[in-house]
């Protein structure tokens, strides 16, 4: 049933979407949108306006980070050195870089930049800008998701258009995702990003209008260094309410609705041939268990919880069956993906036996979650499942500032969250807050875990064995239950073609609208 809803091509795009931009010429990657059932695809018009309704307001301050807030505009304005690809998290699609060569020990990368790249102020982009961007992204106040990796890198200017990166761990497994998530910003106007007064990048669009909290409009730039895109205007309106988004889409005042729950999105598409689903990077939805306090302190209870949760039903009823329930944090496109460890056991009887054995019957498990509809829905099934094995379950839904402050302090207890599936195993282990060693949100921490994680990171491209060992240990300790890995589909009108996704957001090199 998922085939009709989410086109095969877009499934391939899930993970890291592809964009190829080599030597200034653009190679189209397949659109995630064109599979509209009704046919009705008209001719692309040159120019035209694409209107998008996004649930979250733009936050220019966070262009160096991933997030739904800037998903629909940031990559139109800011370009990275290279994008990752969907098929392989270690492969690169070059954008601002013309060449990236890695040393034999995989610890050094020499990056050559394209000639003639200019910021929209007219200034030439040089190696200094790249170095400055990476240093800024690694600084303490930066919101960058990859700063843990950047912190281990030594970045040096080795020519006007050449930068050399030296890492402490092998670069290949992490390079593509890290570069993708670090768009090059203009050092002269970077402070303008704080309040959105100046947003200067190298991309094919410039910001023509920005109203804080309400929306942002991009106009095609007339002196773009590469090939001029087809769309003249991209307008992103902030519409938080799902009823209002659906109304906007139905009434034609917007062509893309983004930020609806999967269920809302599939319901909308099921009822109407002129809409289809389209999605970028997948998200992983884990349940992370506090191993220091409460029932979760007992490994038997944790194992029982892992067996008690009906992930297939969560996938069906919360994610409309579009997700995967392989039970693993790792991306299936990662070369070291442990295929034989994929899958999960759903055995409520064995689980309740384990709970009895641990003497934990009737004990209360409090689950904290960010108060958004998808996580609240997940919670309902989990609570139902855990009650069925003899535990008592309580909810603590929290608003963003509260949840994130608690999580960062490792005070969220047992929590439900969602994280981007942003790259290979080594990349996730260094950046993901549920997995990484320093500054983690999870409480679980043992020397054994640390050793196994470091082994994967150090193994470079031959990490299959280390990953399998780590996975086995994680499953045995059961401190982290990956429930579902699912896309975040947007609903797209059939008049829209050629939008492409990367980790940092949507780009419009090949996008157009038909009449």
């Amino acid at each position: 049933m998922s085939q009709t809803r989410l086109a095969p091509v877009s499934r391939a795009l899930v993970g890291i979407a592809a964009l190829v931009l080599a030597g200034g010429s653009l190679t189209a990657c397949a659109s995630a949108v064109q599979q509209e059932a009704s046919g009705g695809s008209g001719e692309c018009v040159d120019g035209g306006t694409l209107t998008i309704a996004n649930a979250q307001a733009p936050i220019p301050e966070r262009v160096l980070a991933q997030g739904a807030a800037n998903q629909w505009w940031a990559r139109g304005v800011f370009e990275p050195l290279a994008y990752g690809t969907a098929e392989d998290p270690t492969a690169l699609d070059l954008v601002l870089a013309s060449d990236i060569s890695l040393s034999d020990d995989d610890l050094t990368a020499v990056i050559t930049l394209n000639e003639g790249v200019t910021f929209s102020t007219g200034r030439d982009m040089t190696a200094d800008d790249v170095v400055w961007t990476f240093e800024t992204a690694a600084s303490e106040t930066s919101p960058s998701d990859v700063k843990a990796i950047l912190a281990t890198w030594d970045i040096e200017k080795t020519g006007d258009l050449e930068v050399t990166i030296t890492g402490q761990n092998p670069l290949t497994p992490v390079l593509a995702s890290t570069l993708d998530l670090t768009p090059i910003v203009d050092s002269e106007t970077y402070d303008g990003l704080l309040d959105g007064s100046q947003m200067i990048g190298t991309g094919p669009y410039v910001v023509s209008d920005y109203t804080a909290g309400a929306g942002i409009t991009l106009e095609r730039r007339d002196d773009y260094w590469g090939e001029e895109p087809s769309l003249a205007t991209v307008q992103v309106d902030t519409i938080a309410d799902s009823t209002a988004q659906i109304s906007a889409l139905r009434s034609g005042s917007t062509a893309i609705a983004s930020g609806l729950t999967i269920q809302d999105a599939t319901t909308l598409v099921d009822g109407d041939d002129s809409f289809s689903l389209s999605s970028g990077a997948d998200a992983v939805f884990p349940l992370v268990i506090d191993t220091t306090k409460g029932a979760g302190a007992d490994v038997k209870v944790r194992q029982a919880i892992a067996m008690a949760i009906d992930r297939d039903r969560i996938n069906e009823q919360v994610f409309s069956g579009l997700g995967d329930t392989d039970g693993l944090y790792w991306s299936p496109s990662s070369p070291d993906y442990p295929t034989d460890q994929a899958g999960f056991t759903y055995d409520p009887d064995a689980a309740s036996a384990l709970v009895k054995e641990a003497g934990a019957e009737g004990e209360t498990v409090t689950i904290t979650y960010l108060n958004i509809p998808t996580l609240a829905a997940e919670y309902q099934i989990i609570a139902n499942n855990l009650e069925a094995i003899g535990l008592t379950v309580k909810a603590t839904p929290l608003a963003g500032p509260d949840f994130q402050a608690r999580a960062a302090e490792q005070a969220a207890g047992n929590y439900l969250i969602l994280r981007g599936s942003n790259g290979g195993t080594a990349f996730m282990l260094q950046t993901n807050a549920d997995l990484r060693l320093a500054g983690a949100h999870r409480v679980f921490d043992t020397p054994e875990y640390e050793k196994l994680v470091n082994a994967v990171i150090a193994a470079g491209e031959d990490s299959a064995e280390a990953t399998a060992a780590l996975t086995e240990y994680m499953n045995e300790q059961a401190f982290l239950d990956v429930l579902v890995t699912a896309p975040f589909p947007s609903v797209v009108d059939s008049s829209v073609q050629g939008i492409a996704y990367s980790l940092g957001g949507t780009n419009y090199y090949d996008a157009c609208v038909t009449q």
């Binding site: 307001a57 936050i59 804080a212 906007a248 009434s251 608003a399 994130q404 402050a405």
Partner: protein
């Protein structure tokens, strides 16, 4: 009247001062950290602490309060923590939208409320009374968002003649703008209008039983004149009071209505800021709305005095 206003001034100032303390402390009582939201879902404690310091949130509350007050008196409302933009700009961008909605809804409220109330209060036939009162009671029991949802269903699916999503400023394009405004304004005004109608009706009935009405009837004054000069005039007082109080409710109702009709107004700003712990914005919104409410109340008292010569402003 001037003397009345001058006499009222100290208490108004006191109210606003206390309000500012409440408005300052209430959002800060909410557990959580706006810096954590800015830092992002994967952030480490170090990043959050650094952003806290940058936002000035690590300073003592008293310092923060005094700084805010100092700004208020010099016309600086502060800077949004979330968007890093002046609060005055965020509000300025949205005040027009909310005012348009509130004004049209307010007009509808007065017209529909008093109209329906007078209709119900003066109808003597059984069936017409039943009809007006039935309508009224149902409207009273209908929450604004349900009314809004119903309007969206009817006009979005069955009868697509009016836009159900988005907005165009009435000032920049009156014809189109008003079309965008009609449905949200109706959804906002109708349930409240029912309350006003109820008041007018009750009041009219009790005024009709007053001695002076009997006297006028006995004197042979035409019934239409009795209605206009005596009954109506004496019945509207409480309605005016209620409308004055209800103006604040209009703003509150705007929160939900703006959300479902995709209007970017103050209500939306208030909700998103509250959920993001954007102290700088919420505190200004709270003080601002209390200020408006206080002003509306003063105006109400003045209007009341104009309607009823027995009331003296003193």
């Amino acid at each position: 009247m001037i003397r009345y206003l001058v006499r009222k001034l100290p208490s108004v100032v006191l109210v606003l001062l206390v309000t500012s303390v409440i408005a300052f402390s209430l959002p800060r009582l909410v557990p959580g950290d706006p810096a954590a939201l800015l830092a992002g879902p994967d952030a480490s404690p170090q990043t959050i602490a650094a952003i806290r310091a940058e936002l000035g949130l690590d300073q003592p509350y008293v310092t923060q309060y005094l700084h805010w007050m100092q700004g208020l008196f010099t016309g600086d409302l502060g800077t949004s923590l979330q968007y890093r933009r002046p609060v005055s700009e965020l509000i300025g961008d949205r005040i027009g939208s909310t005012l348009e909605l509130a004004v049209l809804a307010g007009l509808l409220l007065v017209v529909a409320g008093i109209g329906l109330g007078v209709a119900a209060g003066s109808s003597n036939r059984r069936w017409s009374r039943f009809l007006t009162e039935g309508t009224n009671t149902t409207m009273l029991a209908m929450p604004p968002f349900l009314a809004g949802l119903l309007l969206i269903l009817v006009f979005g699916v069955a009868l697509p003649v009016l836009p159900i999503s988005g907005e165009v400023s009435v000032l920049s394009d009156p014809v189109i703008g008003i079309q965008y405004l009609i449905l949200p304004a109706i959804a906002l005004a109708l349930p409240m209008a029912a309350g006003i109608a109820r008041l007018v009706q009750t009041q009219m009935r009790s005024v009709q039983q007053e001695d002076f009405v009997d006297l006028a009837t006995a004197k042979g004054v035409p019934s239409g004149r009795i209605y206009r000069r005596h009954v109506l005039r004496n019945s509207l007082g409480p309605a005016v009071v209620a409308i004055g109080i209800r103006f604040g409710d209009l703003l509150a109702g705007a929160v939900v209505i703006e959300a479902i009709f995709a209007r970017n107004g103050i209500g939306q700003l208030a909700v998103t800021s509250a959920q993001a712990s954007d102290y700088a914005v919420i505190q200004v919104v709270i003080v601002g709305t209390v200020f408006v409410a206080v002003m509306a109340q003063l105006l109400t008292e003045i209007t009341l005095a104009a309607l009823d010569p027995r009331i003296r402003l003193a």
